[in-house]
């Protein structure tokens, strides 16, 4: 139960996974974020995974009130927050209980012994104090009376008990900083800035942090610090960004690049709300972040703003997308540019609102009445949410049609280093606005290549015209119930989306370029899939990864790539939705499926086992 019997050597590790867990009120998210930022500043690559309960502030000490933040730091590129935890910081028994199974034997667990009171132990569902049982034997357990040491360290500054209590996470962080030889400056600066007007709070947190660091340093029982060297990353200026912020920023960049103003019509919903929050901050860039009365008003006002000439987007999660279906159909009929962001979460219905899933793919494809094709694309990492938000805007505006951008709770809340881009280095976006025409304006006249129509915005003299949801006559856009015209227009709307394939990059394979097994994925599972495939590839397997960011239309070379492999496995966090799309497009291939629907990302080990099995069998 103590580390007396374990003899760890001072290790230099390539990658380490650290998980901070405690009560929702214990500040674990902040702790995790600080550790990540400090590590990134040292040049580590990082990937993070916050995991919190759906209650705002669940009763203290309960298992469902446990909030966690996991970070994976590495000296080579890291692509997932990691499967197995190397260091677990558990602030109470409930946190220990719910997280122990993620810690392999031999790994380190730090616990706050002060929190192992009878009451807390019972609340966590333990019969007896787990620290006193043999179940802790396999681990390196570091027991520290964190709460009391924290209180002790700040007792003289005159903070009330509950505020003082709240500094204990910094004590824990201090300990971990020492373990990984991290400097304290970044976090100290953070507090100084954040609580400018609360000197007591600054003081308490800094003291706790230092006390934790010093405690760890002087404590005999503590294993020697780990060393994680800086990762080899492309040179440049970086910042840590999470997927939702990256999404918001991608849209702002697209607005600036295209010379349009950014409009967001949205209704809060987990885990998409942070995009709204972020955009609401940026009035200075002309961003109008309108919180509507519901999802329908959110998307419909977006159509209005698009009609009026803005770069118009709406953001939501699964249930919200369901409500927006009818209006997306209107935008398709009106052929208006707009982006619908769906940050996927666990379904069906309210489902698992704070968990991740990829089960809205078919809804994005088909969740509307009639033949109503939309462009569907998906981001695959926290940082490339920036790129795909940008690309979604570009495609919408240049092809005059709605684009659905899928992300998910996992990449939306996860963070990673982002090599800062500038507007200048982003591709051009040419909007199709017209300011005048010879003769009558024909709103449904099209660019012969993209089949996009033009964008005539109210306020432009001479281009007055009406659009709407009834079938349109070709060219004029007048209402038409003519049978042939309807068939013609239906095909044009489809063709317009199909031709987007000419404007998107071809699919690239990572790992083996041909061979035994092609792993197919899409969206937010990239990190785990890549890590698994890459490590098997490096081990000599003929395995490659084809990860899709473009779902509708599919990249033109998809079939050609599928042909190069003996076996194909489609991996998704759903029951096989992309598998269904692929099968219907390319029925000539046989596909294996690997699906997980637990509200959690894939673990790398699980994937590698699965792939090995497929490679071995048959």
């Amino acid at each position: 139960m103590t580390t007396e019997n374990t003899h760890l050597e001072k290790r230099s590790l390539k990658n380490v996974v650290i998980r901070f867990v405690g009560d929702s009120g214990d500040g674990m998210q902040l702790t995790g974020t600080q550790f990540s930022a400090t590590s990134a500043l040292l040049g580590n690559d990082i990937a993070t995974f916050p995991n919190y309960p759906s209650e705002i502030r669940a009763p203290q000490g309960t298992v469902y009130g446990v909030s966690g933040f996991q970070v994976h730091i590495g000296e080579s590129a890291v692509h997932t927050p990691g499967d197995d935890v190397d260091v677990l910081v558990a602030m109470n028994p409930a946190a220990l209980k719910t997280n122990l199974s993620s810690v392999p034997p031999g790994k380190t667990i730090i616990v706050d012994t002060d929190s192992f009171t009878k009451k807390n132990i019972a609340k966590a569902g333990y019969e007896e104090n787990p620290l006193l049982t043999s179940q802790m034997d396999p681990y390196v357990v570091i027991e520290a009376p964190i709460t009391s040491l924290t209180l002790e360290s700040i007792k003289d500054i005159g903070l009330d008990k509950s505020s003082a209590d709240r500094s204990k996470n910094m004590f824990a962080l201090g300990m971990v900083y020492w373990m990984f030889s991290r400097p304290l400056e970044h976090t100290i600066d953070f507090f100084k800035k954040k609580f400018k007007n609360k000197p007591l709070v600054i003081e308490a947190n800094i003291r706790a942090l230092k006390a934790g660091y010093n405690y760890a340093q002087t404590l005999e029982l503590m294993p020697s610090p780990f060393v994680v060297l800086p990762a080899k990353m492309e040179p440049g200026t970086y910042r840590i960004i999470n997927g939702n912020t990256a999404t918001a920023w991608g849209f702002m960049a697209a607005a600036e690049k295209s010379g349009l103003e950014l409009y967001l019509g949205s209704y809060p919903i987990t885990p998409a709300s942070d995009i709204l929050h972020e955009l609401a901050k940026h009035l200075h860039f002309g961003v109008k972040a309108f919180q509507a009365e519901d999802e329908i008003a959110g998307v419909v006002s977006t159509i209005g703003a698009s009609f009026a000439g803005e770069l118009a987007i709406t953001t939501t999660s699964g249930p919200g997308l369901a409500l927006k279906g009818e209006a997306i159909g209107l935008a398709i009929m009106m052929e208006m540019p707009m982006v619908i962001v769906n940050v996927q979460r666990g379904g069906p219905s309210t489902g698992l609102p704070t968990k991740t899933e990829q089960s809205d793919l078919l809804q994005a494809m088909y969740g509307r009445n009639g033949e109503s094709p939309a462009i569907v694309i998906a981001a695959s990492t926290p940082e490339n949410c920036f790129d795909y938000a940008f690309i979604a805007s570009k495609l919408a505006v240049e092809h005059m049609t709605p684009v659905i951008l899928l992300t998910d709770g996992y990449i939306a809340n996860g963070s990673a280093p982002w090599k800062i881009k500038t507007v200048e280095e982003m591709p051009e976006i040419k909007n199709r606005k017209v300011t005048g025409v010879e003769g009558t304006y024909e709103p449904y006249e099209r660019d012969p290549e993209t089949l996009a129509r033009t964008w005539a915005v109210p306020g432009t003299p001479g281009l007055e015209h009406r659009v709407g949801g009834l079938e349109k006559q070709d060219i004029t856009g007048n209402v038409s119930m003519d049978p042939e015209n309807h068939q013609h227009m239906t095909k044009i709307r489809q063709e317009k989306v199909d031709r987007v394939a000419n404007y998107i990059p071809e699919l690239e394979v990572e790992g083996a370029q041909e061979g035994d097994l092609l792993v197919v994925g899409w969206g937010g599972t990239y990190g785990s899939l890549f890590t698994a495939v890459n490590s098997m590839y490096e081990n000599g397997e003929k395995i490659g990864l084809a990860h899709f960011n473009y779902i509708n239309p599919l990249p033109k070379n998809t079939k050609e790539i599928f042909k190069r492999f003996k076996k194909i496995v489609v991996c998704e966090l759903n029951m096989g939705q992309f598998h269904m799309v692929l099968t219907s497009h390319f029925p000539e291939f046989e596909y294996y499926k690997h699906n997980k629907i637990q509200g959690l990302p894939f673990s790398v080990v699980e994937l590698m086992n699965k792939f090995q099995q497929i490679l071995d069998n048959k």
């Binding site: 509507a292 419909v300 209005g304 009026a308 109210p458």
Partner: protein
């Protein structure tokens, strides 16, 4: 916002080339003509008008106007209009909508448009029936009304648009008979001048599915006794002989006759449309006989679209960030070499 150097239009400039397809005799024709006549009086550029609608007979309105327009989906005109106005505050945005469109499926957007006081003009074609879907009761249909979906008579009590609007915070509410083009034109012009959500209820006769719904107010024979036209600053006098008026008795309105029982013109209530207190406006909106027409309430106030734009402009002017590049490079960044 109105400019000064405006071209001069006639009503023909606002008629599109699409054939009008309402039933012969429908009041919608009157309103269409009223709008086409009122727009040239507004001193605005043609290209700045946008007509937005949902679905319903009345919602075909935008097709007949030679302006920018959207024929939207059922119930969502207010949300479309909100997006348009937030995007471009300088446009003159009009909503043509039915009692089903705005009070049934669109009820939520209707009350929120009003709450936000978005600077649009909403013409509510209240025919107390669903026209386009061929005659089901609507949220303004009367108790007992027999329709396709209430063959034994409707049992759902109606909304009163004026009360619902003012209950939602409405700052501008007007009412007018479907055939009264003169008053319609005047109200439309006032609505356009008003900054905020102007709600105009038209007592619109549907000749096919609910013919005669407003006869007790609009029949030539009873009209002048049954309609009280209010005007800001004027006493509330009406009647064939222009000798009836409204007075307040406790918390109730009462019809009196000038010259009878010692009542003089001076006793008659004077209409104050701009009083922020809605108490009297609500009483007027609720009055059943005579029914009150004209602009019942027109209280100046802030509009969310204007506030949004103002704040944007201010923040922008003050901000050190001129490009997103500045944002991206700000705060915590670090170098990798």
């Amino acid at each position: 916002m109105t400019d000064t150097n405006k071209p001069v239009y006639t009503f023909k400039d606002f008629a599109s080339d699409q054939e009008v397809r309402w039933c012969p005799g429908c009041d919608d024709y009157v309103v269409l003509r009223s709008i086409q006549k009122a727009l040239p009086l507004m001193n605005r550029k043609k290209e700045d008008f946008v007509f937005v609608s949902g679905i319903g007979c009345s919602s075909r309105f935008p097709y007949y106007m030679d302006t920018y327009g959207i024929h939207g989906i059922h119930g969502r005109a207010a949300a479309l209009a909100t997006g348009i106005k937030l995007a471009n505050h300088d446009l003159s945005v009009w909503i043509a909508t039915g009692d089903g469109d705005s009070l049934a499926i669109g009820g939520n957007h209707f009350i929120h448009l009003i709450r936000r006081n978005i600077d649009v003009n909403l013409i509510l074609f209240n025919n107390e029936i669903y026209g386009l879907t061929k005659g089901q009761f609507s949220p303004t249909s009367l108790i007992g009304q027999k329709t396709k979906s209430s063959p034994f008579g409707n049992i759902q009590p109606p909304f009163h648009p004026g009360e619902l609007a003012i209950g939602s915070g409405s700052k501008f509410f007007a009412r007018v008979a479907g055939g009264d083009t003169k008053l319609q034109q005047r109200i439309f012009v006032e609505a356009e001048k008003f900054e905020g959500a102007a709600i105009i209820e038209v007592m619109q006769n549907c000749v096919i599915f609910n013919d005669g719904a407003y006869d007790k107010y609009t029949d030539k024979a009873v009209k002048s006794d049954a309609q009280l036209r209010v005007e800001h600053g004027k006493p509330m006098i009406f009647g064939k002989e222009n000798n009836k008026g409204l007075v307040l008795e406790g918390l109730k309105l009462k019809v009196v006759t000038i010259g009878e029982n010692g009542v003089t013109e001076g006793d008659i209530l004077v209409h104050n449309a701009i009083d922020p207190d809605p108490t009297l406006h609500l009483m007027l909106a609720r009055l059943e006989m005579p029914i009150v027409v004209g602009v019942i309430r027109a209280v100046p106030g802030k509009t969310v679209d204007e506030l949004c734009n103002l704040r944007l402009a201010e923040t922008r002017a003050k901000s050190p960030f001129k490009s997103v590049n500045d944002l991206f490079a700000s705060g915590e960044t670090y170098e990798v070499k």
